[in-house]
Symmetry: C2
Subunit: 325 residues, 2 copies
């Protein structure tokens, strides 16, 4: 059927060399499919995620951010498996060919790809509503050690970074937090537009964590998913949540902690560590240097709960509709 | 951002078990990413392709066909590498949750996946304009032997199946060929709605073909791409084109050959075989049984040409805009 945008030249022009060069790519962009040498003894890790205009971003958002995020959301999932990302494929549906937009999109995606030594090995462009699907392939040693399901009651739960910043950054980007200082607005906006997938932390956690999940839909909801998969529940201590000073100064402490629990788009790692491993973890990966904090524990009783000074808080924990209310 | 459709439950409900079961899938749908054991010594093959509503299909087309085609277009590319497909990921953007549509879509995709022993190992559903991206992973022995670039002047060019049927089938589906008999209309329509990726043929061709390409954008255009990649040109003999009786009876011989050269959506294989291998090929894979035909040769002079009784025909060889004129 008619599809003027289905041109290999677009992929070759904008994306062929935008990622890392890797000697294990036997055949990249340009043939019917890519050929890759997976390192011997390693298990292949595969993940795909889509960003849709109007749902995950608005069309006027910076193209470099859209490119960055399309890759970052997948890298974050690969990081949560403790895996090393290595190769990516891009399926890009575009309403029109806008060379300036494409160049900026490719620059954003390419910079993050090169930072993590990820080669772009294939792609497809199509005409249609703006929609981006990236697949990331990587590898990890066998057997897998850091699934969602490996947690046990008593394990200490940690989160990387300062969740909530990205959710507030989206509100800034949409003009919903006009009282933020310019320093806070810039910081929060950057955390939404250019999230940091915790790729190296994920790999280092293999030696210590019993379970791990990527925080993309809200910390409380995602921590509860990890607990569910592990056949247990989770308690998060409200006062332990790591909140950035810029988030607190912009929305106040109470609201900041609410956003940290329920805001989406963080792309941080939430992971469980058995009590006997906590000291080893903190010695090998100093928390201040690696940027992670204890926030609660897994417990036998199912479900997710938040306590404040030891009392359970009543809390609507939808991870999705925060700014849509 | 708000995305009520981004629910793992949709993938788990409709797609988790729709493909083949494979013992090399260490972890399928349900965690942050899939874990796969690629057979030792094999090279990984990866391909992604997108179908967009209004571009590659119309929303009222049968959902089973849309699911079938979303996988078939990728299997065809993997077949053109002589590879064995094994695993797939699905990124599905949906305007709404329509359980009947999803069940039919999954049935179409799942039937083709099981036929080729492909496991669905991951997926993502998102709210937005209808758009489907499938990624197929597979493997092939090293070194790769059947790239687009391996052809040489003098190689005999073959095509599988009867190209043009799918292009005419689309016209039938759109009500543009009202004079077709119902038998012809049904046949042509099926060739568009449920194309047959030549997966087994592709793997068997590894021992004989010097180059191969998936015919998706029109035979003449795709054969010329193969020739270009091989640093040579191609001549196709008009009278040798394999045309289905239903296509000829519907549009006449002249138009049938034109559609065979320029219609899209065939998902056949076009491949080059050195003269010294042609007899071996035809003995090992009898053409009548395997359904392929010689249609021309590669030559040193660049570009693509069609000859009729030895005379070059003048021909607009766009592979895209056939039914859009």
């Amino acid at each position: 059927m008619t599809d003027a945008l289905n041109e290999r030249s677009l992929i070759e022009r904008f994306f062929k060399d935008c990622g890392a060069r890797r000697s294990d790519v036997a055949l990249g962009v340009g043939d019917d499919a890519a050929l890759i040498d997976v390192p011997p003894g390693m298990q292949l890790v595969a993940k795909t995620d889509t960003l849709v205009s109007g749902v995950h971003f608005l069309p006027h958002f910076p193209a470099a951010s859209i490119g960055h995020r399309a890759l970052a959301v997948n890298l974050s999932d690969v990081a949560a498996m403790g895996a090393e990302p290595a190769w990516a494929l891009l399926a890009l549906t575009l309403p029109k060919v806008d060379a300036a937009w494409l160049a900026e999109f490719a620059a954003g995606l390419g910079a993050l790809a090169r930072k993590h030594n990820v080669a772009l090995v294939g792609g497809d462009t199509t005409g249609g509503p703006l929609c981006i699907t990236v697949q990331v392939l990587g590898y990890a040693p066998r057997p897998p050690v850091m699934l969602r399901s490996g947690g046990k009651p008593g394990d200490v739960l940690f989160v990387s970074g300062t969740p909530g910043d990205a959710g507030a950054g989206l509100a800034v980007e949409q003009g919903q937090l006009p009282n933020a200082t310019s320093a806070a607005a810039n910081y929060l906006r950057q955390r939404f537009l250019f999230p940091t997938p915790r790729v190296e932390l994920g790999q280092r956690l293999r030696d210590f964590a019993s379970a791990c999940i990527d925080v993309s839909d809200g910390l409380l909801g995602d921590a509860t998913k990890l607990a569910d998969a592990s056949g247990c529940g989770v308690v998060i201590e409200h006062e332990k949540l790591p909140i950035s000073p810029h988030l607190t100064s912009t929305v106040g402490d109470t609201r900041a902690r609410e956003i940290a629990l329920t805001g989406g788009d963080d792309y941080e790692l939430c992971f469980a560590v058995s009590p006997s491993n906590v000291e080893k973890l903190q010695r090998a990966l100093p928390p201040a240097q690696w940027g992670y904090s204890p926030i609660g524990v897994l417990r036998a009783e199912r479900g997710g709960a938040v306590t404040r000074n030891g009392t359970v808080m009543h809390f609507s924990h939808s991870g999705f509709d925060h700014f849509a209310r």
